[in-house]
Symmetry: C2
Subunit: 684 residues, 2 copies
C-alpha cells in the first residue's frame, strides 16, 4: 500500500517526492528538500531578493529586473504584440528588430503592465466566513463580493494592484499585493525570425536554436524605476548538471484535477477549442500569404494561435494516453477512501455532475462570454465600454470582477491603448467568428438571428469594421466618460453588436460561475483535506499565473534510446539555417558568423518544472544570479499540465552566456550589456 502510494505520488506529483517537480509559492518553498538533494538551502533573504526581482507581465508572461534602473529581461514572444504595435509598414521592428540607442529612444509599449509582488496575506478565513453554508449562485456571488471587497480595501492607488488569488482550486485564498507599473518601454528586441527560429515546426522541440530574448525598462514618473533588488548576471556559465532555479508565473496546471475534470477536458473542452483554433490558423495563414503587408500584420497573431494550438494539442495527447488517466483514477480511488464525512464523499460526484451539465452550454460560454465568436480588438473594446456603462455605477463589490476598483487600471489601459488596429485582420477575424457563431449555435438560434439578421457573416463583418469609430482612442474615451447615456445613444455598429449579445453572454457566464466554478470551489477544501489525510501534505497548488519558485538541473533526456544533450551551440544554428523561413537566420546573424564563437552555448534544456506563463522567467543559480532565460518547454512538457514526468519533462531556455554573446557579437547592444555589467543606466 505504501509503495503504491509513493509510485503514484512520484508520477503524479501530489507532493514533493524526490523529483525536480513543483511550482512552489514563495511562502512554502521546500528549502530543506533542496538542501537534501543538492546541498544548498536558499535563505529567507535569498527568497525575498528573488521574489522582488521577479516581474509579472500582466498580459500573461514572466520577467525579471536585471539592473538597478528597471531594466527588465523577458522573451521576445512576450512583447511581440508591443513590437508589432510600435511598427509600421515603413518601420517593421518585428522583421528587423529594435535597439534603443539612448534612454530617450526607448519606446513605450501600449498595453503592457508590469507587476512586482510585495506582499502575500492569507484570506482563507474571510472567504470561508463569507460563503459559509452557501451553494450555487449564492456561493458564487458572496465569494465574488468578498474578493472585490478585500481587493478594494488593499488597492490604495493606481500604483498598487491587489488580487485575491485562488489556490488549490479554492481550498486556500491569498491576497497578493503588487506594485503596478504601466509605463513599460521597449529597449531591445531581436528579429522575430531569430527569436522564433524554426517557427512552428521547432516550437516545443529541442535541440533548439531560438534567441527568444528582449529587454524592457520599467519607467515611473518619467524616469527609469529604481530597482535596488535585481538579478545580477552570473560570472559562471551554466553547465550540464548544475542546480538551477526558476522564478516566474506558471499560467495554469490541472495536476490536482478529478478524473471527471480530465475526461471533460479530453472529450469536450479541448476538442472544441482545438478545432476552433485549427480552423482559425488555416484561415490566418492563407490570409497572411496574400501579400507583404498582410504578412507583416498577421504573422504575430498567427504565431500566437499556432503556439496555443500546439500546446493544447500536446495536452490532449497527454490525456489520450490511457496510462495517465488510469493513474489519476487510481489516485482518486485512494483519496475518496480517505474523504471525511458525507459532504466530502459527495465532492467528486458533484464536480462530475456540474461538468455533465456544462457540456450542454460550453459552446455558448466559449463563443459569447469568452469571445471566440468575436475575436477582434474592436469587439473587445466595445464590450468593455458597454459593460462599463452598466457596471461602474454599482458599488465595486457588486460589479463583474474585472470592473472592480482594483482591476480598473488594467482594463482602462487596454481600452485606451494607442496600439494600431489593422482593419484587414479585424475583418478576417470577425467574419471567422460570426461564421463560427452561426454554425455552432445554428442559423435559427435567437442570438444568431439577433446578431446577423438577414446579413451574411462576411458582409456584416465588412460593415462593422469599415464603419466603426472605435479605432479612434478619443471616441473610446468619450464613450467611457459618457457612461450609460453615451452608450445607449451610440449607433456605432460594434457597440450595437456588444449590446445585442450582452444579456445572453452575461446569462451564460452566470450559469458557468454558479453551476461549475462555485461547485469546484466549494468542493476544493474537501479534496484538499483528503490529500492531507492520504499523503500528509497537500503539495504545491496548481498554477494560477501567480509567482512560483522551482528547482532543478541543467539536463537533457533520453528519447527512443538517444541522448538529447542539454546544450545547443551557435554552430548548430548556422547548421540549421537553410535560407528559407522559418529556418532562415537573419542578416545580422549571417554577417556576424565570423565574429561568434561557434561552440558558445545558445539554448539549454533543464529539468525545471514550467508551463505557459513561465515564459520570460529567469533561470538563476544558487547565488541568485542569471544563467538563462526560459522561453519554452520540450514536447513532453505539454503533458506537464497534468503531470510532471521527471525523465522527460524539460524547460527550454536561452543560455545566459549565449545571450550576452549574441547581444555583443551579433547585435552590438552595448548599452544593454554595459547596464547588465554595472547594474546602472549607462550614458549612450
Amino acid at each position: 500500500m505504501k509503495l503504491r502510494a509513493i509510485v503514484v505520488v512520484l508520477i503524479l506529483g501530489a507532493a514533493s517526492a524526490g523529483a525536480d517537480e513543483g511550482m512552489w509559492t514563495f511562502d512554502a518553498f521546500p528549502s530543506a528538500e533542496v538542501k537534501a538533494r543538492y546541498g544548498f538551502e536558499p535563505t529567507q533573504q535569498w527568497l525575498d531578493r528573488v521574489r522582488l526581482a521577479s516581474v509579472r507581465l500582466a498580459g500573461g508572461c514572466s520577467a525579471s529586473f536585471v539592473s538597478g534602473a528597471g531594466l527588465t529581461m523577458t522573451n521576445h514572444h512576450c512583447i511581440r504584440a508591443c513590437v508589432m504595435d510600435l511598427s509600421s509598414a515603413e518601420n517593421d521592428y518585428l522583421a528587423k528588430g529594435f535597439k534603443a540607442g539612448r534612454l530617450e529612444d526607448e519606446k513605450r509599449c501600449p498595453g503592457v503592465e508590469a507587476n512586482q509582488l510585495v506582499e502575500m496575506t492569507d484570506v482563507t478565513p474571510r472567504l470561508q466566513a463569507a460563503t459559509k453554508g452557501l451553494a450555487g449562485a449564492e456561493f458564487a456571488s458572496a465569494s465574488r463580493a468578498e474578493m472585490s471587497k478585500i481587493e478594494s480595501a488593499c488597492a490604495t492607488g493606481e500604483g498598487v494592484r491587489c488580487d485575491v488569488v485562488t489556490l488549490f482550486d479554492g481550498a486556500k485564498y491569498q491576497l497578493y499585493k503588487y506594485r503596478r507599473f504601466q509605463d513599460v518601454r521597449l529597449v531591445f528586441a531581436p528579429e522575430f525570425s531569430m527569436a522564433a527560429f524554426g517557427g512552428d515546426a521547432d516550437n516545443f522541440n529541442f535541440p533548439r536554436y531560438g534567441f527568444d530574448a528582449a529587454f524592457l525598462r520599467v519607467w515611473d514618473g518619467g524616469k527609469p524605476l529604481p530597482t535596488p533588488v535585481f538579478l545580477p548576471w552570473a560570472k559562471e556559465p551554466a553547465k550540464e548538471g548544475d542546480l538551477v532555479f526558476i522564478s516566474g508565473h506558471p499560467g495554469g496546471t490541472e495536476r490536482q484535477a478529478t478524473v471527471a475534470q480530465l475526461e471533460f477536458q479530453r472529450d469536450v473542452a479541448l476538442p472544441f477549442t482545438l478545432l476552433h483554433l485549427a480552423e482559425l490558423r488555416g484561415a490566418l495563414r492563407e490570409y497572411a500569404s496574400g501579400d507583404a503587408e498582410r504578412w507583416r500584420t498577421t504573422r504575430a497573431p498567427l504565431r500566437s494561435v499556432e503556439n496555443t494550438l500546439k500546446s493544447l494539442r500536446g495536452r490532449h495527447q497527454a490525456l489520450a494516453d490511457p496510462g495517465l488517466l488510469a493513474r489519476f483514477r487510481q489516485r482518486e480511488a485512494e483519496l475518496r477512501a480517505k474523504a471525511e464525512g458525507p459532504e466530502a464523499a459527495r465532492a467528486w460526484d458533484e464536480i462530475a455532475a456540474s461538468l455533465a451539465s456544462y457540456r450542454a452550454f460550453l459552446p455558448q460560454y466559449r463563443l459569447l462570454e469568452q469571445e471566440l465568436a468575436f475575436p477582434s480588438e474592436l469587439f473587445a473594446i466595445a464590450r468593455i465600454l458597454v459593460r462599463a456603462a452598466d457596471e461602474l455605477p454599482k458599488p465595486s463589490a457588486d460589479r463583474l470582477r474585472e470592473f472592480s476598483d482594483g482591476r480598473l487600471p488594467q482594463l482602462r489601459q487596454e481600452l485606451l491603448s494607442e496600439a494600431p488596429i489593422v482593419p484587414g485582420l479585424e475583418q478576417v477575424r470577425t467574419t471567422f467568428g460570426l461564421n463560427k457563431l452561426r454554425e455552432t449555435l445554428g442559423a435559427d438560434d435567437a442570438v444568431v438571428r439577433a446578431v446577423l439578421g438577414r446579413e451574411s457573416p462576411a458582409n456584416l463583418a465588412r460593415t462593422l469594421v469599415t464603419t466603426t469609430k472605435l479605432g479612434d482612442v478619443a471616441e473610446r474615451q468619450r464613450l467611457w466618460d459618457g457612461g450609460r447615456a453615451a452608450i445607449d445613444a451610440s449607433q456605432d455598429p460594434f457597440i450595437v453588436l456588444a449590446r445585442t449579445v450582452d444579456a445572453a453572454s452575461r446569462d451564460v457566464r452566470r450559469r458557468y460561475e454558479d453551476t461549475v466554478e462555485a461547485v469546484q470551489r466549494r468542493s476544493a477544501p474537501h479534496l484538499a483535506q483528503a490529500r492531507r489525510v492520504a499523503w500528509g501534505t497537500t503539495g504545491y497548488p496548481d498554477a494560477t499565473f501567480t509567482l512560483r519558485l522551482g528547482f532543478g538541473t541543467v539536463a537533457g533526456w533520453e528519447e527512443d534510446g538517444r541522448r538529447i544533450p542539454a546544450l545547443t551551440t551557435f554552430r548548430g544554428a548556422y547548421e540549421r539555417h537553410n535560407g528559407q523561413e522559418p529556418f532562415r537566420l537573419p542578416d545580422t546573424w549571417m554577417g556576424a558568423q565570423k565574429d561568434v564563437d561557434p561552440e558558445m552555448p545558445l539554448d539549454m534544456s533543464t529539468t525545471l518544472d514550467s508551463v505557459g506563463g513561465n515564459s520570460g522567467s529567469p533561470v538563476i543559480d544558487r547565488r541568485g544570479e542569471v544563467v538563462g532565460l526560459v522561453f519554452d518547454g520540450n514536447i513532453h512538457s505539454l503533458g506537464g499540465r497534468f503531470a510532471y514526468v521527471p525523465e522527460r519533462n524539460r524547460a527550454v531556455a536561452v543560455h545566459g552566456a549565449g545571450l550576452l554573446h549574441g547581444l555583443k557579437h551579433v547585435y552590438h547592444a552595448d548599452r544593454v550589456l554595459a547596464e547588465i555589467a554595472s547594474g546602472a543606466v549607462q550614458a549612450p
Copy 2:
C-alpha cells in the same frame, strides 16, 4: 439478465430488435420482422427488382435506375465533382445548373463509374482455408492474395467488376459481382446553391429545404443502357407514418466495434483527422474568398471538406457521450463471458494491443499512405503511375489490392480522366499538405528531409505545380504505357515526389495491414461466434459500402420537448430565403414562386437507418416505387456510426412529389419528367 440484454440490444442494435434499425444485406433481409411490424412482407421478386434497380456510384454514393433507358437518380452532391469538371469560368454549371435539352446534349462525367449488383456468393471457406493457422504479415498477405485470385477469376472483362467483400470485420467474406459502367452522362443538375440550400450551416439539420437531386444516364456502347428493371415513380406521395424502404450503399459503421476500437477513434484517430480537416477548411475558405474564379473552383471541394468535418465531429461527440461508451463496455463484458476457448478470449485484448501500437504510427499512415500530406490531384496521379510501374509486372495476386486485374479499370479511369486540374487550388493544397508533413513528423524526419531538402513547403509546392506535365492526359498515358523505364527516367517533379516517399509509404501501409487490419480480421470470427452464443444471432454486418436494404417510416422526432414535423414545404424554403448565401434561393426559384404550390412537401424525415454512402439512395414504398431521395441524415444520425437511436436517428430525403414539382415548375425539365412518367427515352 434477460431484460438487461434486451435493453442493450435495443440501444446498440446488436441484433434486430423491434426498431427500424439495420443495414441488411439483400440475402438476409428480415422480411418476417417487417411483416410483423408493418403487415407487409417483401417477396423475393420484390427484393430482386429493388436490388437490380439499385446503383452504386463507385466514388462513394448510391443511386437508382428510374427509367428503362438508364436514367439514374442520385444527389447533386454525389455528382458535384462531375458538374465542376464540366464547367469553366464561362459556363459555370455549378452556379447555374445543367439541363441536357436532347439525348445528345448529355455530357459524359469524367471519372464516374456506376455498378449494378448482379450476384453475391459466399467465399468465407476459401478465405478461411487460405489463412488457416496464419497470423500477422502471413495472414495479411495470404488473405490479400486469395481475394485477388477470387476477383480475377470472376472479372471476365471490363464490363464486370468483382469485389471480395469483408463482412462482420472478417467473420464472413462474399464475392460481389457487379456490372460495371464507365460511360455515365449528366442529364440534369440544379444550382449548387439550391441543392445545398442552407450550406454548411444547415447541413445535417432538419427542418431542411434542399433540392439535392440530379439525374445521370448510364450509356453503353454509345447508346442509353437498357434497364428493364427500374423503379417507377409512386403515384401516391409519401405521408407521415408510411412504411418506406431504403436501398443503398452505407459507407461504414462501427456498431460492432470493441471498446478499444471506440476509444481509439475518440482519443486518437478522430482528433487527428478532425484537426487536419478544420485547418484545411480554414485555409480553403480564406483562399476561396479571394476572387470569383477562386470561389468557382474551390466551393465544391470546400463543401466536401466541410461535410466530412461536420460528420466526423458528430461522431466524436457521440463517442464523447459517456453513456455510449458505458453501454458498449457492458455489452463487451457480456460477450467476453461467452467467448469459447482461449483464442477467442484473447481476441479483444489482441485488438486493443494492436491499436496501442498503431497510435505511434497513425500519423505516418495518414500522411503518407492515405495522402493527407499530398492532398492534390496531381500527386494522386503521380502515385498511381509510380506504383503501376512496380506492380503491373507482378502476378495479379501479388500486387497491391487496387492494382489487381479486377480493380484496374477504375484506377485507369481515374488516371486518364479529362477532368480539368486547377493549378491555384493544387498549389494551396500541396502547400498545406507539405506544411502538415513537416510539422507532424518534424523538420528532422528522414522523409521530411528527403521531400523538402532545403526548400520551404510553399516554394516547393509552386515548383511542383508549375513545372509538372501531369496535367496533360497524353503524358500520363505515355508514362503508364512506358512502365518502369519511363518512370525511372522521368524528371517530372510530382513523379520524383511520389518516388521519394514510396518506400516509406509502403512500409507504413504494410505495418498497418499486418499489425492492425490482420489482427482485427483474425479476431472477427471469435467475436461473431460470441455474439451468436450471447444473442442467438449476429444481426446485420457493419456497413462497408455494399448494397443494403433498410425499412422504416416517414417520421419526425421530439427535440427538447418540441415536435419536429416529418415534412417541410416549398413555402418554408421561400421563408428561409434571406438573399445571402447560403440562404439565397437561386433566380429560377424566385421566378417560379408564383407557379409552385407553397404547401407541396419539399424534404422529409424518415426513421430509415442510413449513413454516408447512402446519399442518393431511393426511398421506396411497399410497391417498390419511388417516394423520395435520401440526401442526408439529421444531426443525431451522425452518432449512427456507432449506434442507431430509434427516438432521434433520422434520414433526410427530398420528397418524391416535391422533386417532380420542382422539376416541373421551377426547372421545366420536361424531358426528364416525361421519361420518368413513361419509363422510356423521350424525343426532345
